[in-house]
Symmetry: C2
């Protein structure tokens, strides 16, 4: 969908935004104007470009994530925010090692592209070799008798489908989240999954897997979709490799084993520092609870974390800056660039431990790429009906519809929302998000500047209204 | 462009093809019917799927290419062709080793995706580190004084543009073909190029580079486009890293060096066997010269060689089979699955050495992917005007226009065409070819079955006419 048309005319945008925010003009103090992102190198783009270029991959708990925090503090200070600070916490760190996979039988060896999943065990440098136990889905693995799995390398082949709202991730992602755990319990020596992704390129989709307490971690990796296709095609051929007559004279198939060699040598580095970076637009009313807006600073290590989640940090920060530039809002806007989201939401949990007892007016997060906002969802108190209407009216000119699903917040504000903090979701178009998510392809060139600007416009309009809302509207 | 509509109706296709070939019905013996490729697993698809699945990458001179020849002989015999044989030749073999690149300064180290170019020298296992000498293009490198290059790692950044006819390859490809040679002559320690490709994924485009006699081979690799973008962005920042006042009080930039660590350990394996695989549809007239149709069996090692060139072998072979099934043609159709094309057209040269003195009626090659044929070009004797008209008329219903460019043939028939053998080019749509060419992404899923079938239809129509043409038409 082309969305450049509504963004082409800055004058029209300004008028629309002012009209939208002026609904709240009776509430003190209202922004008299909102600085709008312009064509070219706006704040959101600059944050995204500079962070992904100068730091690049920012794996949680590593020196790169630490450098990213220093970079973030400097950038947020340079943008004029107040109370810019780092809040450290400790976490256990897992890092990738060597990664090789090949199909070794019944055909000549062929290399596959693989990436270890977070928390994968190591095969050791010499690797392991084993027969593939093929499962069409995670459910098929769960249903299989242990004897089909024991001593084998489990392969889970379910193919994620493309959706606008990303709803396939939870369903198809189970093979990644829990497949290794299930396979280990049945005696598998390793697990290999089809990437949880919708593209057909050779970069695998990494991501975390989890073992229950008492379950032995085993090596776990994801193949790219074309590599999973290749494995599946060889599996079909191996199944049909030999035929022979059985005792009744009928032709029966005698499958050849499909075998894989696997080398994955990730390491646990023990406990290391990570941290959140926080900055604020101080509100004029010290008694008013703050609006919290979140993204995450860390990224997986395969790409440079452009869509996940440098762009999210760019969007929320640019919006806060535009509201700040328009005049001091009533409520404080607190910006949270969370650390260590990808590997277990450690930053979000640390924020909640430190600040969970403070009152927050409302929480929002941007962590679903940089494509346009297409829907707004609310989870606000009943008193906020008029506020919801104002926000929905402000967003409508930018092609954003009002959803019927309650907002769920993002990972980093998840603990706050679970504790009752109201939330608003500016839902981004996820149609191509899982082409890139957790892959080497998550790089700056995938960001569409026009759609990034639409995000900033939507966030600016929403934040301007929220930060100037009355207490009676968010109780 | 959707091309399914004209392919949707097999009945219509049959009628159109018969109408086309019936123009030649006065020439003995004419095909009474042509077996048409159907939906589903047709011959071209099966060859492409089976070769890329059961053999996979087929680097020239390796055991995989040798296995591919055995596979090819068995498949061509199973399809019922005559005189199926392997014609061996010897060649020098180069194979890939370890491949690592990272930017090490002025920022924290960041890994880049790199692939060695064919004929690259080795850095040794410990690698080399050096300052980047940045050039926007191959021409800029040529124009540079040696002092700007000596002791450095040359980077050539020119970005190939997308075209339908692939015409950008020669122009933008010079940096790959000759950049390492030029850099070595100026004293560079290595050369790294932006991939000669039009995609934005992380798989680099490999391909051969060449050193003139007497020029010292140096390590040479290609970065993926997103990695080249990253290098270029860091280069800009490094250039602007420091400013100081000069003696006149003006602010001048003092660039930081941008540095790269490079590990490439390819090896020369010495002289090994490669070979061509040849099969024939014997013609009814022993005095008539044969039609030769070519593809190449080898592939680069990063992908499975689906578009380059398993599909080409599938297309020409399916077309020859369809003509054969329709009744014995007048001329022999000789099918050449050439070996070792990618690394120096050794198969085409070996064929010419062995068969170049035989008379060939006309030569055609399919080696530009599997997207639809959109244009037909001729390089035929003046006597062939009516023949050209018949072929153009037969192809027109399938959306194929008549070009004004003389046919140039393909690499494997290049020596024949240079020696005067007439040629016809069934030009394929190359719009997305250089997204995939020589990358890990050259895999089966990139083949569009509908467009593959259109190729087979176009080739079948053309071959049916050519194989039944009179001597007076091709003299």
């Amino acid at each position: 969908m082309k969305i450049t048309a509504p963004l082409a005319c800055a004058a029209g945008l300004t008028a629309a935004l002012l009209a939208a925010t002026s609904v709240a003009a009776s509430l003190p103090p209202s922004p008299s104007a909102v600085e709008l992102p312009q064509q070219g190198k706006d704040i959101a783009w600059s944050i995204t470009e500079d962070l992904t270029t100068e730091i690049g991959p920012r794996m949680a708990g590593t020196e790169a994530e630490s450098a990213a925090r220093r970079w973030a503090v400097a950038r947020l200070q340079a943008l004029g925010f107040a109370n810019v600070r780092e809040e450290q916490f400790d976490m256990k760190v897992w890092v990738r090692g060597a990664e090789e996979a090949s199909l070794t039988s019944p055909f000549l060896p062929q290399k596959l592209h693989i990436a270890a999943l977070g928390n994968s065990a190591s095969t050791g440098p010499k690797g392991i070799e084993g027969e593939i136990a093929y499962f069409a889905s995670y459910d098929a693995l769960l249903a299989a008798p242990d004897a089909e799995v024991k001593g084998k390398i489990v392969f889970i082949n379910n193919q994620m489908e493309r959706t606008q709202d990303g709803s396939g991730y939870g369903q198809y992602g189970r093979g990644r989240f829990m497949g290794a755990n299930a396979a280990s319990k049945k005696g598998a020596i390793a697990v290999v999954i089809r990437s949880i992704g919708t593209d057909n390129h050779r970069g695998p989709h990494t991501g975390g897997t989890n073992f229950e307490a008492g379950v032995k971690p085993i090596p776990a990796g994801a193949l790219s979709n074309p590599d999973a296709d290749q494995l599946a095609r060889q599996w079909v051929r191996a199944q049909a490799m030999h035929t022979r007559e059985n005792e009744t004279g009928a032709i029966v198939y005698v499958p050849e084993p499909l075998r894989m060699k696997l080398v994955l040598t990730p390491r646990d580095l023990g406990t290391k520092h990570s941290g959140n970076v926080i900055a604020e637009v101080p509100g004029s009313d010290p008694a008013a609870s703050p609006v919290i807006v979140a993204c995450h600073l860390d990224s997986w290590d395969l790409g440079t974390g452009a869509i996940d989640d440098a762009a999210g940090c760019g969007i929320i920060t640019a919006a806060a800056k535009h509201v700040m530039s328009a005049g001091q809002p009533r409520r404080t806007i607190r910006i949270l660039w969370a650390g260590a989201e990808e590997v277990g939401v450690f930053g979000g949990k640390a924020y909640f431990e430190k600040h969970g007892t403070e009152k927050h007016a409302v929480a929002l997060e941007s962590d679903f790429g940089a494509d346009r906002v297409w829907r707004v969802d609310f989870k606000l108190p009943a008193s906020a009906k008029a506020l919801e209407d104002r926000i929905a009216a402000a967003l409508a000119p930018f092609g954003i519809t009002r959803g019927k699903t309650p907002a769920s917040g993002g990972a980093d504000i998840g603990a706050l929302v679970a504790a009752g903090v109201p939330a608003i979701d500016l839902q981004q178009d996820g149609t191509r998000y899982f082409d890139l998510h957790h892959t080497p392809d998550d790089t700056l060139d995938k960001i569409d500047p026009a759609q990034l600007r639409q995000n900033v416009v939507a966030w600016t309009a929403t934040l301007a209204i929220l930060a100037n809302s009355a207490d009676a509207e968010l109780t």
